[in-house]
């Protein structure tokens, strides 16, 4: 079965409190400041038919109102 990886991220302009928290925590932990920290989801799976992945993302894995997704299928 082909192995696929789906990267799901909050759409630009959506407030991401987890990302903000990471941004604030880094200097406190003694790291250099980071920018544009965004926290999303990673879904990895083996599928029988990689052609279904887009529909699976639309219907289940991502919410298009708030999230973008990117599908990567291993050769």
């Amino acid at each position: 079965m082909p192995h696929a990886r789906i990267l799901i991220r909050p759409k630009a302009g959506i407030l991401d409190p987890q990302g903000t928290a990471v941004e604030q925590a880094l200097p406190q932990l003694g790291f250099q400041p980071a920018e544009n920290v965004r926290i999303g989801r990673l879904v990895e799976l083996d599928v029988a038919d990689a052609g279904e992945l887009d529909a699976i993302c639309q219907k289940l894995l991502a919410n298009p109102l708030i999230e973008d997704y990117e599908i990567q299928v291993d050769a």
Partner: protein, 220 residues
């Protein structure tokens, strides 16, 4: 009351409805059944349907029972989504918008004061516009969000049903929204839990007004 695995406020919702409309008048509907048993109104209660895995409400929205609820809603039947139920109705496309994690990133429980913005829905007919209700809220993913164009549309159609009273913003939702309805005004969702505000022994009883509303709306 639709029951998914992981739903946990369904018994509370049954009790609340029975306090409003009489014992014996509430049924539990199992998520795998499409049969709504001829009920007059449907409540999608709170909890963590399917563990809230992936996104709150996302998997429940696709269950057989929700298919039947969608048909019921399209036919004008009154449907109320509470907390996780609100998330489910949004995910199912029956209500506008979607839910994001609270700005505090934490689960927060507390009594909040809600302002009724629209008293002409199936679930607010027993209230009056501007009325303030004290109802507990408890959630981690309750920041209702709509992109600007959708928010304008929702506001333009008077679909905002509840807002959090001025200083009481538990989650950071768009325009301080606590609850919305669909364009037909028969489907309502809200984050706070009216079923937990129906017994004087446990706190406020303001939530009873919501459970009395469908009957009242039907009379008018």
């Amino acid at each position: 009351m639709v029951q998914f695995p992981g739903t946990c406020d369904e018994i509370d919702a049954v009790l609340a409805a029975e306090r409003a409309v009489g014992v014996g008048n509430a049924e539990l509907l199992w998520h795998r059944d499409r049969d709504l048993k001829g009920v007059d109104a449907v409540v999608v209660p709170g909890g963590f349907s399917y563990g809230d895995y992936l996104r709150a409400g996302s998997i429940a929205a696709l269950s057989p029972a929700m298919g039947a609820v969608a048909e019921f809603a399209r036919a004008g039947g009154p449907v109320l989504g509470i907390c996780n139920g609100f998330q489910v109705l949004c995910e199912a496309g029956l209500l506008p918008g979607t839910m994001l994690m609270n700005l505090s990133r934490r689960f927060t429980f507390r009594d909040v004061t809600l302002r009724v913005e629209a008293a002409d829905t199936a679930w607010t007919a027993a209230t009056s516009a501007g009325q303030e209700l004290v109802i507990p809220a408890k959630h981690q993913t309750g920041r209702w969000y709509a992109p600007d164009d959708l928010l304008d549309e929702v506001r333009g159609n008077d679909q905002v049903v509840f807002t959090y009273a001025a200083d009481d913003r538990p989650n950071g939702s768009s325009a301080n929204v606590a609850g919305v309805c669909n364009a037909q005004r028969n489907v309502v969702g809200l984050m706070p839990h009216p079923e937990h505000a129906t017994d004087p022994l446990t706190g406020s009883v303001d939530g009873l007004l919501l459970f009395r509303s469908p009957a009242e709306a039907a009379r008018v």
